[in-house]
Amino acid sequence: MQCLDIRVIVDGKALTATVPVRLLLSDFLREQAGCGGLHVACGHGVCGACTVVLDDVPVRACLLLAVQADGAAVQTIASLPQLEGCEPERGLTPLQQSFRRYHALQCGYCTPGLLVATAKFLAGCPSPDRARILEHLNGHLCRCSGYANIIAAIEAVRA
């Protein structure tokens, strides 16, 4: 089984690891990089639960190989304060507060990917209209909330 050495910055920490080439990035992050906050649900790109930011671009961690992240920086839910441009370690971020306030999660399985993707989305498009928000949510399945509360939570934090 072919393995490769990779160097990745995960949530600000530089890591080196030897990984089988067929290991998915999502499994590497959860099992070897200690990113318990990253969730995996469908495992084929449909649900958005595993969304992380790779060198500034949001991606599905379940559709990348760990070796493809070699030399890159990965940000998971643990980097949410940075992704929202606020101070780390200062309690909940504005998006998290809004999700809590509007009851935009129930089991929380979809939430980490959704928050990461939404932080990136709002960074690029600070005042989205309803249509843009729906297009963005298109990439995220939530089995609990019915989406109305998620939409409300995002609308409440837009500029």
Binding site: V21, R22, L24, G45, R60, C62, L64, V67, Q68
Partner: protein, 282 residues
């Protein structure tokens, strides 16, 4: 680990890639955005001996304007093409179709060329490539070759195993364009999708999803072109479509042939309506 074992290569040049494909004919698979291939690997529906990751080849991520065509490299991502002013102006119909493909996160990784080559039934972009007469630049160890879209993504066609597609060439065609589709869920491959694009000289129509590979519809196009700016009735479009329907109607677990046939004229009508209301990009 979900995928079956494979060897992995990360070539830096097209030449190196062509060499690897020649050495492992039929057993190697190229990895571009991975948005189609990785799910197949994970489900072990694809089990290549060698996976050749082309993402670190330099110079393939550009959209270049040439005198009579637009040249797009194998690493141009779908979102990049969707946001490109040049594409919007010169390749009328492509941006309109891209807006319906998957969702923004998938599009930031998925490439235009990978999507065309995957050629899944219903894929929006295949209708655009066939209607506009796109061409592909192929590279194998023996040299370079340019093939018309229908030779790679037409019925029964596929990319030769020893070749890499390095570029797609889009004819420059500022035009009016309209795109519409019906899908079971937004952001997933459509049941039927239609592209209508018109210049003062000609009108073109192609449908994806109705047949296994996208169908070019010259009779519908003539009808829409002659009636412009009025859009022909759905009945007239349905009659024209029976002339254009030269392949068997596609059917799968999601949807049967009868519904596809029924919805195709309505989808075409809406695409024509959108075209008619759009402004020419010229």
């Amino acid at each position: 680990m979900k995928p079956a074992p494979f060897a992995y290569a990360r070539p830096r040049t097209v030449l190196e890639t062509a060499g690897l494909l020649a050495k492992h004919t039929g057993a190697a698979r190229l990895l571009a955005g991975g948005q189609s291939l990785v799910p197949l690997l994970a489900r072990r529906l694809a089990c290549p001996v060698l996976l050749v990751d082309i993402n670190r080849i330099a110079g393939l991520d550009a959209i270049e304007v040439l005198p009579d065509q637009i040249r797009m490299g194998a690493l141009v991502r779908q979102q990049q093409a969707l946001c490109s002013e040049v594409i919007r102006r010169e390749v009328a119909g492509l941006a309109e179709a891209l807006a319906w493909v998957a969702n923004p996160v998938i599009r930031q990784r998925g490439t235009v060329i990978g999507n065309l080559i995957a050629n899944t039934p219903g894929a929006e972009l295949t209708a655009v490539a066939l209607a506009l007469g796109a061409r592909f630049v192929l590279r194998c160890a023996a040299g370079e070759q340019i093939l018309a879209a229908e030779e790679l993504i037409g019925p029964g066609r596929s990319v030769p195993a020893q070749a890499m597609v390095t570029h797609v060439l889009w004819p420059r065609r500022p035009a009016q364009a309209g795109f519409f589709e019906v899908a079971r869920r937004d952001g997933h491959a459509p049941v039927v999708a239609a592209l209508v694009t018109r210049t003062a000289r000609d009108c073109r129509v192609a449908l994806s999803g109705l047949t296994r590979t996208a169908l070019v519809c010259p009779t519908m196009a003539r009808l829409i072109g002659e009636g412009y700016p009025r859009v022909p009735s759905r009945e007239a479009l349905a009659a024209a479509l029976t002339v254009d329907l030269t392949q068997t109607v596609h059917t799968d677990g999601a949807c049967g042939a009868q519904y596809r046939l029924q919805v195709a004229p309505a989808v075409s009508w809406r695409a024509a309506q959108r075209m008619s209301l759009s402004r020419a990009t010229a």
